[in-house]
Symmetry: C2
Subunit: 316 residues, 2 copies
């Protein structure tokens, strides 16, 4: 595939077109991904997540600049699940206009959700693979919001940064327990604001609780780093922690364990989608619509209907 | 099924046990849901969503009290996707301790994610069905966070409330476009804080833009209501808007259209899961693990592997 060859050779326009192809799915995307796949497995994938208002985008920006200053290449994938219907991509545009533009060692892609989380997770994973294959050494994946998307990203990323900020209110407290468990590195950003030290101490307490509970013998103790992304304070320390986490994963064999878990989850997702597509083709839209009508009228429940559809199909 | 009969008769302990049964899935859950299903379709399901810090829980509390004051019964489902690993249920506990406890016309259930969004969405939809069948006239479904979960809930709910609050920073702005599109009623909560009127005006502008873009001839204009959930200000108005939206859906035929879309999405999800379970049983864990190994070693990509697995299966 010419497009793939050109993208692998570092041609930016080819890569951009390839990513669009991949996002849109379809047969051509599959062919491209098959061709790309042997070239993957080299990038360090770093997820960056946290509640709104913590300054994630600025932080991703600062990290990318520091990575470039150290002579490494970096890809950025900004995932925006907040706009599933419009396909808006505010974050990507924001970053694109920033001081990172024009550097050939950096590539920024913003993703809009394709209506279902499954679709977004699939497309994001595939876009990351393409950036990996194209030779970007670190791929930063930023998600907006707080919810299931973080967990999906923690599964895709080797290292997950969770960004907090001082004084974001009670609900954010409630979110912490969940985010703590996916955090490999914890940041208290906007550390020049009042309450930063207090937030760091609170995180320390939660982290301590969680790591104490983990049964794994190779326990990684997530460091807590105070940053001011706007002026670069703490950014080299964050990058250092990212590298240390990579070393930890490799030396304990967890890198490979995670890789297999990631692959398995991906395989099952593809199988699920493919199986449904086959069933739909076999049974026909008409008959499925008839069952939907019967369920909507409370003549039959969804599980019984599914069973009936599957049994009929296996008879034929 | 005795448990179902008891729950339908309004026995609270039976309902609580039934919900646990449903959450844990399995064959018994399916049987229970089949028995419940003919009794569903009467409740008005209202989703309540918004970014952290907007005061959603307090608002749900206030709404429930107002609904009870009007003599209607209310179920509350608090969804907490922020803790996918621990199964924590902070919100539910918080509500449970509040002034709503002890009222037989109210039932509160908090859900923890079961590791995958699919699992959570399935369990939430089924718990809502059980509360519907048990006769609760309004079911309030609260989600924490901002992400894909809101969209899933918008699909389950007849009416979706989006809660905002003044002065939550830039990232929240970025979230708005996405949330706007699922909002049927917009609330500016904490309206006693500075900037409430400004936030309301900003929402008005965004809403105007979005409704102008909608092609549907039966356009619902989402009202924007300022509330102070803590002292009940604006709560009767919110409830009024919820009733008006229900009338709108019924009179335009959209109620039924939404119902069918909901049913179809549920049916496809069940089919997808069931098909995968059958394939796994047929192919065997061992062979799937072997393919995972080959993919992890970059010998084959995930799509080619899936294809191979499916083709072998259909040969056999």
């Amino acid at each position: 595939m010419e497009l793939v060859t050109a993208a692998l050779q570092g041609q930016r326009h080819a890569l951009a077109r390839l990513l669009s192809l991949i996002e849109n799915d379809g047969r051509e995307a599959r062919t491209a991904l098959s061709a790309l796949y042997p070239h993957t497995g080299h990038a360090h994938i770093v997820g960056v997540t946290g509640a709104p208002g913590t300054g994630k985008s600025t932080l991703v920006n600062a990290l990318a600049k520091e990575i470039r200053a150290q002579g490494k290449t970096v890809g950025i994938v900004a995932v925006d699940p907040s706009s599933p219907f419009t396909g808006g991509a505010l974050l990507g545009d924001r970053i694109r206009m920033s001081d990172l533009a024009g550097d050939p060692g950096i590539f920024i892609r913003s993703m809009a959700s394709r209506g279902s989380l499954g679709g977004l997770a699939r497309a994001t994973a595939d876009v990351i693979k393409a950036l990996d294959a194209a030779g970007f050494e670190i791929v930063l994946v930023e998600t907006v919001g707080a919810g299931q998307s973080e967990v999906e990203i923690a599964r895709t990323a080797h290292t997950t940064l969770v960004v907090e900020a001082p004084g974001l209110g009670d609900d954010v407290q409630a979110l912490k327990a969940g985010l703590m468990e996916i955090a490999d590195v914890l940041l208290v950003n906007k550390a020049d604001r009042p309450g930063a030290a207090k937030t760091a101490r609170a995180l320390e307490a939660v982290i301590h609780q969680h790591t104490a509970r983990r049964r794994d013998p190779h326990v990684w103790q997530p460091p807590i780093i105070q940053t001011i992304a706007l002026d670069g304070t703490g950014i080299p320390e964050v990058l250092n922690a990212i590298y240390q986490h990579r070393e930890h994963l490799l030396s304990t064999g967890m890198w490979e364990v995670q890789e297999r878990a990631r692959v398995e989850s991906e395989l099952l997702t593809v199988l699920r989608q493919e199986l449904l597509a086959r069933l739909q083709a076999q049974v026909g839209e008409e008959r499925i619509r008839a069952w939907v009508g019967r369920i909507a009228q409370r003549q039959v429940d969804v599980y019984t209907a599914a069973q009936a559809l599957l049994d009929k199909e296996s008879e034929g």
